[in-house]
Amino acid sequence: MSLLEAKNIKKVYKTRFGGASVEALKNVSFTVEKGEYVAIMGESGSGKTTLLNILAALDKATEGTVILDGMDLTKVKDKDVAKFRRDNLGYVFQDFNLLDTFTLEDNIYLPLVLAGKKHAEMKERLDKLAPSLGITDLLKKYPYEVSGGQKQRAAVARALITNPRIILADEPTGALDSKSSDELLSLFKKVNQMGQTILMVTHSTKAASNASRVLFIKDGVIFHQIYKGESTDRQMYQKISDTLTLLAQGGDK
């Protein structure tokens, strides 16, 4: 059975004054297997963030179902959604979403504190995680005292520390320079190799070429997907570029 299964997802945004509504997602279906590293690409405004938000239960689909590990996400009660999210999902935001009131350490602890974990356990988990993310020396600092790349690494730590079933990342490299991006991508690769499932939205071909599969979304539907299979990053990069060119020309498959 797949870890994540999205079936016929449709999302219509009603504009505020009852004017024209926007159909952000028309009919999206796909599955993610356990241990996979999936990238989602598409033009700006194609509905990637919308999709990710629905998968993360941050937003509700107009139609369709999302099943995570056998649980129907659309049926989780409102009051349990938050708990569900912090127990099962790790979300990495494009703009980090770290809290200025907390040190990086406390920011990373936040989901565990909300889950009611003991401090000793939290510390143990972080001690294991911090070195591989290279943030050991930064833990006592506040978000406004560290660089964007460092912030994003802390945000990744916050997503990873709950041992989530799946990591959802929305353009995690979007606010980073190429060096920080590379670091983050190799980090994702590393955690993926340790068995962590990742679903990442990205605009960067380079980022996507790390993934084991790339989904292309256009006009609210999955337009195409390519598997990495045995190909190298380089070959994958080429495949993705070709597909994107095709997409831009508006051609069919």
Partner: protein, 675 residues
């Protein structure tokens, strides 16, 4: 740049931040209005007409000073909250090419507009409210026109000057903050938490010391009126101490809570403790402001309610019998005792002619002399007093000599005093040894009758300390003080004659009788060099008492409402401004996996910790100042500490409930904003 550019920028900026600026302006306006009203009541003499109005006026004048200090501290802090939020904007301006001068101009206009609007609207509000108070006075308790309120030019001017100065300093402070930061620092300023003040422990200890000094001073003051200056100093010390303690205390508390890992990393505490730490100084300051306002409310309310409820008792203390007469003459005169007897006879005869049955007659006279009482010695020689470097007004005392025969006859006792001896009694806590020297004459004290002093005068000790001395031969004693004169060349020695009795007449009869008796006394004493004489009836004074105390009560309510409104505004402002700050944060927390219930719980936990503190502090303050309040009430003739305690208790309860309500409503407002 075009003229009018900066004012436009300023108005634009204020409008953009309207949700914070509006509550801030309201706060400023109320501060101005409140100061105006207090200054007006305290300095324009509107209340001088009331009996005891002098004391009330002094207290309100004191209140206006406190208000001025309070407003300064408070507005500084609120302003710094506001600036913190705006720094990002200023940073952006400077990145877009504005220099510090230009930004300074925008700040100038913003402060100027805020200042002008606050002062003008505040003054109008203040004048309006005082008019409203006038209506209240006249309509509610039918007090005659002497309470009439008007606009006081000097109060307007003082308010104008004070707040102009405050706003000017606020302007300088803002400039300072923006001047010494580069654009990036400015942009990040909104995010950064407050740094704990350097040497926080020192601040905390200093605060405790100052607070302690204020407390000690407050508790030591025996005569609040003569030591008004010290009383004021005590109040100021308490206020400053409260601020320092609460600011340092809130920093220390946050640090301690964060250090305790098992406490800190709990769902309920995690978010609340960290956001408290994030604005620990500001928190401390606003808590101190709330605490001081609550204390003022409690003190005002409990003193005036106990006055109001104790009015009847107070009346009885002042006028223990239906009819009371008094006469006073300076110097010594052989004929005075017989003059007293004749007055007594006239009064009783006239009363009986008018259909009264005289009972409980209590007639006596004393010789009185005032001086400086120290080390069992009363200094009555003004020349040596003038040479003293320091005069402690608590030691100015009045000695009243009463003849033992007179005392026994009038009060139904049987004491015996030998020449050179005296029985001494006083309602004040004065240390007195076995021998007392009055002027140059030394008396051996054989006995004390402190517990029976109230028989002579139930209001004893209201003003300056009175020491009663029962002597063998009051005439002989009095003659030893003939030579002392006061600064006006008048004799220091005075003869006081008292007569009081019940009549069995109805209310009108009593009032009419008192008038008749007044005439008779006047006929008898006119032209004989008496400085003062009168006859009063219990019933005629009742109306005066009720209206005076009613007036004071109303004044107390009025002031409490003013304080309360400012308290509400402060709490509301605090909640709203913090709500907007926390909004984004709670958004993030929801994304990370916090649900509505957990947010609500953590909001509640934060509020509860923060909001219990000022109440507790205010109660401690109240307990410390209650003794002074009690002494003040004595000046009005209320001698009932028990009643004051009960009133204080009820006030704490009522205020506590009200506070809980405010807390509930404002934390709902906060919750609405963040969720």
């Amino acid at each position: 740049m075009k003229a009018g550019f900066y004012p436009k920028m300023a108005i634009g900026g204020m409008r953009k931040n309207g949700r914070l600026y509006v509550p801030y302006m309201i706060t400023c306006i109320l501060m101005v209005a409140m100061f105006y009203i207090l200054h007006f009541l305290g300095f324009s003499g509107v209340m001088r007409g009331m009996a005891g109005g002098g004391t009330a006026t002094d207290m309100v004048a004191l209140g206006s000073y406190i208000m001025a200090i309070f407003a300064t501290i408070f507005l500084f802090y609120t302003q710094s909250t506001l600036v913190k939020g705006r720094k990002k904007e200023f940073g952006l301006y400077s990145i877009l090419g504005m220099n510090k001068r230009n930004i300074g101009k925008i700040i100038f206009w913003e402060t100027a507009i805020t200042g002008i609007v606050s002062i003008v609207v505040g003054l109008l509000t203040g004048i309006g409210l005082s008019k409203l108070a006038e209506l209240g006075f006249t309509k509610l308790i039918a007090v005659p026109t002497r309470y009439e309120f008007s606009v006081s030019g000097s109060s307007v001017v003082t308010t104008l000057i004070l707040f102009t100065v405050i706003f000017f300093f606020i302007y300088l402070n803002t400039i300072r903050q923006v001047r010494f930061a580069n654009p990036i620092q400015l942009i990040n300023a909104g995010k950064a938490g407050e740094k704990p003040p350097k040497a926080n422990w020192v601040v905390g200890i200093l605060g405790l010391v100052i607070l302690g000094a204020g407390y000690v001073l407050a508790l030591k003051i025996e005569q609040p009126l003569s030591a008004l200056l010290w009383f004021f100093v005590a109040v100021i010390l308490i206020i400053i101490g409260t601020y320092l303690c609460l600011v340092a205390g809130s920093v220390i508390l946050c640090k301690l809570l964060q250090k305790n890992k098992n406490f800190y990393y709990k769902t309920n505490h995690f978010v609340s403790v960290s956001s408290m730490a994030y604005r620990m100084k500001r928190n401390g300051a606003s808590l101190a402001s709330i605490c001081i306002l609550i204390t003022m409310i409690l003190v005002t309310l409990s003193s005036t309610t106990s006055l109001y409820t104790g009015a009847e008792q107070c009346l009885n203390a002042h006028y223990p019998n239906e009819i009371g007469a008094f006469a006073c003459k300076y110097g010594y005169d052989d004929n005075l005792p017989s003059q007293g007897e004749r007055l007594d006879e006239i009064l009783i005869a006239t009363s009986e002619e008018n259909g009264a049955t005289v009972t409980n007659n209590c007639t006596y006279f004393v010789y009185s002399i005032s001086g400086y009482f120290e080390n069992d010695r009363l200094e009555v020689n003004l020349n040596s007093l003038t040479n003293m470097a320091f005069i402690d007004y608590d030691k100015v005392a009045q000695i009243q000599f009463i003849d033992d025969d007179d005392y026994n006859r009038t009060f139904g006792h049987s004491v015996k005093v030998n020449p050179g001896e005296a029985i001494l009694g006083t309602a004040k806590k004065i240390d007195i040894g076995n021998e007392v020297t009055i002027g140059e004459v030394t008396f051996k004290i054989t006995e004390r009758f402190d517990d029976k002093v109230s028989e002579i005068d139930s209001t004893a000790g209201a003003a300056s300390p009175t020491i009663y001395m029962i002597v063998d031969d009051v005439d002989a004693v009095a003659q030893k003080y003939i030579q002392y004169e006061d600064y006006n060349g008048e004799p220091m020695l005075a003869w006081f004659w008292y007569c009081r009795f019940d009549t069995g007449l109805d209310v009108d009869g009593q009032i009419k009788l008192a008038e008749t008796l007044s005439e008779k006394i006047k006929e008898e004493l006119q032209g004989k060099g008496f400085s003062n004489y009168y006859c009063e009836s219990h019933e005629a004074e009742r109306g005066d008492f009720i209206s005076t105390f009613g007036g004071l009560f109303f004044l107390g309510i009025l002031l409490s409402i003013i304080f309360l409104v400012s308290c509400v505004v402060i709490i509301y402002y605090k909640q709203i401004s913090e709500g907007f700050e926390d909004q984004a944060r709670f958004g993030i927390m929801q994304k990370v996996g916090m649900n509505g219930d957990e947010i609500k719980k953590s909001v509640n936990s934060q509020m509860l910790t923060v909001f219990m503190i000022p109440v507790i502090f205010a109660c401690v303050h109240l307990v410390v100042v209650l003794p002074i309040v009690n002494k003040l009430l004595m000046l009005f003739g209320l001698f009932n500490f028990g009643l004051l305690l009960i009133c204080a208790g009820v006030c704490v309860l009522v205020c506590g409930l009200f506070y809980a309500l405010i807390y509930k409503v404002t934390s709902n407002a906060y919750y609405k904003i963040v969720s």
